[in-house]
Symmetry: C2
Subunit: 338 residues, 2 copies
């Protein structure tokens, strides 16, 4: 089978490997599609070389069909369409308080162990979610990032009719915006990349470029002074942190989706003054996957348009190079079927 | 009657003024005691000269007896023992979403209008809470700061058996610790002032001086790796912000009680990684006052010991000067009765 490996130094190799039989409690998946996540790009840039065991097959935004079943696997059969929730919580302890998905010794499959950017992939059965037989496997590769969005929106406790500001209109920001709008929220997106601004407008969103307009004044006017009930910080930059406390109304909830590697300046006075809440949100839980699968199989959101390129697996090197050259794109998917 | 006035330039004057009849909807209170709040000390230091209309009678941590009733006041009578919830929300708008206590145009009585550091004080009746006839009026002057603590603990959603770390063992920190312990939490206090460390230990708390011991390691050991379920940031300094995300366990809640006037560095990665929550908490609501009054009248917490000095009203200048000279003290109360 064809497999890809991150070799360090912004380089992927393509190898031929023996297909392995699944071990006890595992299944072997014939991978259909695997999306490129921002984290994969971070790995490609060498930002996670300390964590990643090079050479490593990466990738976790996948869909596929079960090809072989290991001993002890009872709930799945060959031919089942599946997605993988790539969280290995076998190191969970009582001090994790039942929050398996963020347990202290969590291993993220595709970062801390081999991932899906290959033709066949062996994974433990507890990571699997079965898809309906008629599921479009290309769209199903969006289940993982869509589950992030479902988790973020659930952690926000979003209610119908609430005013939402999404800071950052990249793939996750857009998915958060789509899920929030689907729940009946009135969604504004703040984005500085003009191509992404146009893209989000094409999906029917009100989008503000804060480098061109006064975001806080705009939200104030459009919400008649109520400001945002919920803010999603998906941009990961200081200007987003500066504005998140300003666009939030009294008792507003700010969901921290972005990964800020270094301590950053936050206006804590506004947290005190308006009794704001900051809610950290990371990955997803089982119910978020179930919600995302229901959304994908219903296909009522414009998922197709978020996939801006589908490339064969063997083009992996070019795909990552192009993501760097073209920051305007949305979701790029690798076709692992041939 | 005797009244005191903040005159700017770290100076209080004492004046004789005519007692005024209460207006429609107001009562006149014969003030019994008035505690000195950290905010009063800020005013004395000139930090709030832009907000305060000098000369001004300040003070809001009070108790007293109704002395005269204005027209239209129906629920109160002369002779009633009362405390004042010093929040004037008459400028409340729909965009405040019903959160009267932090409405955008909130006026804080005793800062934005005359306060209680005088012998008689006229206030609107909607600010009043009636006390049982046998209430100790000296202890009742703690109702206001105790309500802050009740609000903070309520905003935390604190549950019995939870592990709590209070950062800062001053008057508010101690009251938070006492209320949290009363609700069945296991409370640790972090404090750098050695006199306050001893004081809190005297109240039976486990107190760590983070300048002398490893606070995070201590909490890790004592909680067997569970870390804090709830952290109260009452210190208002950068080292407390640095440690608050480290002592919090998975899905820990951090209540922001301190007032940070400037943007400060916060480890947002920990919010993401452990799905922490930051909860801003400001002043109190009606139910917090009711809870504080019940605690004071039951007198089952060591409130007496928190009052470290009672001074006659006319000593106001000396009282504020001494607070600067002696940062070890806890709550200082002005006796306004003679």
């Amino acid at each position: 089978m064809k497999t890809t490996q991150y070799e360090g130094n912004q380089t992927f190799s393509i190898k031929n490997k023996e297909i392995q039989p699944p071990k006890h409690g595992e299944v072997r998946i014939k991978v259909a599609f695997c999306g490129v996540c921002g984290t994969d790009v971070h790995i490609y840039h060498g930002m996670m070389d300390k964590r990643v065991d090079i050479p490593l097959t990466i990738g976790h935004e996948m869909s596929g069909i079960i090809d072989a079943i290991g001993e002890g696997v009872e709930e799945f059969s060959t031919g089942d369409k599946v997605v993988v929730r790539p969280l290995d919580n076998r190191g969970e302890k009582p001090s994790d308080k039942g929050y398996s998905h963020i347990c202290k010794d969590l291993k993220f499959i595709g970062i801390d162990s081999p991932g899906a950017m290959q033709q066949y992939w062996n994974v433990p059965d507890f990571t699997l979610h079965k898809l309906p037989a008629d599921t479009d496997l290309k769209l199903a590769s969006l289940v993982e990032p869509l589950s992030v969005a479902c988790h973020d929106v659930r952690m926000a406790g979003l209610k119908e009719g609430e005013q939402v500001v999404v800071l950052g209109g990249g793939p996750i920001g857009l998915l958060v915006a789509l899920v929030a709008r689907d729940k009946g929220a009135n969604v504004f997106i703040s984005e500085v990349n003009q191509t992404r601004v146009q893209f989000a407008r094409g999906l029917g969103f009100t989008v503000i470029n804060p480098n061109e307009s006064d975001l806080v004044g705009f939200i104030d006017e459009k919400t008649h002074g109520y400001m945002a009930d919920v803010v999603f910080e998906v941009a990961g930059v200081q200007p987003a942190l500066d504005v998140m406390t300003a666009v939030a109304g009294i008792r507003g909830r700010i969901v921290m989706v972005a990964i800020h590697g270094q301590p950053k300046e936050v206006n804590l006075f506004q947290f005190f003054w308006k009794e704001l809440q900051l809610i950290g949100a990371r990955v997803y839980e089982k119910e978020d996957y179930e919600e995302a699968i229901a959304l994908i199989t219903a296909n009522k959101l414009p998922f197709e348009s978020i996939i801006t390129a589908v490339e064969p697996l063997e083009n992996i090197q070019k795909v990552f190079e192009n993501i760097d050259k073209n920051p305007d794109g949305m979701k790029v998917i690798l076709d692992c079927q041939s």
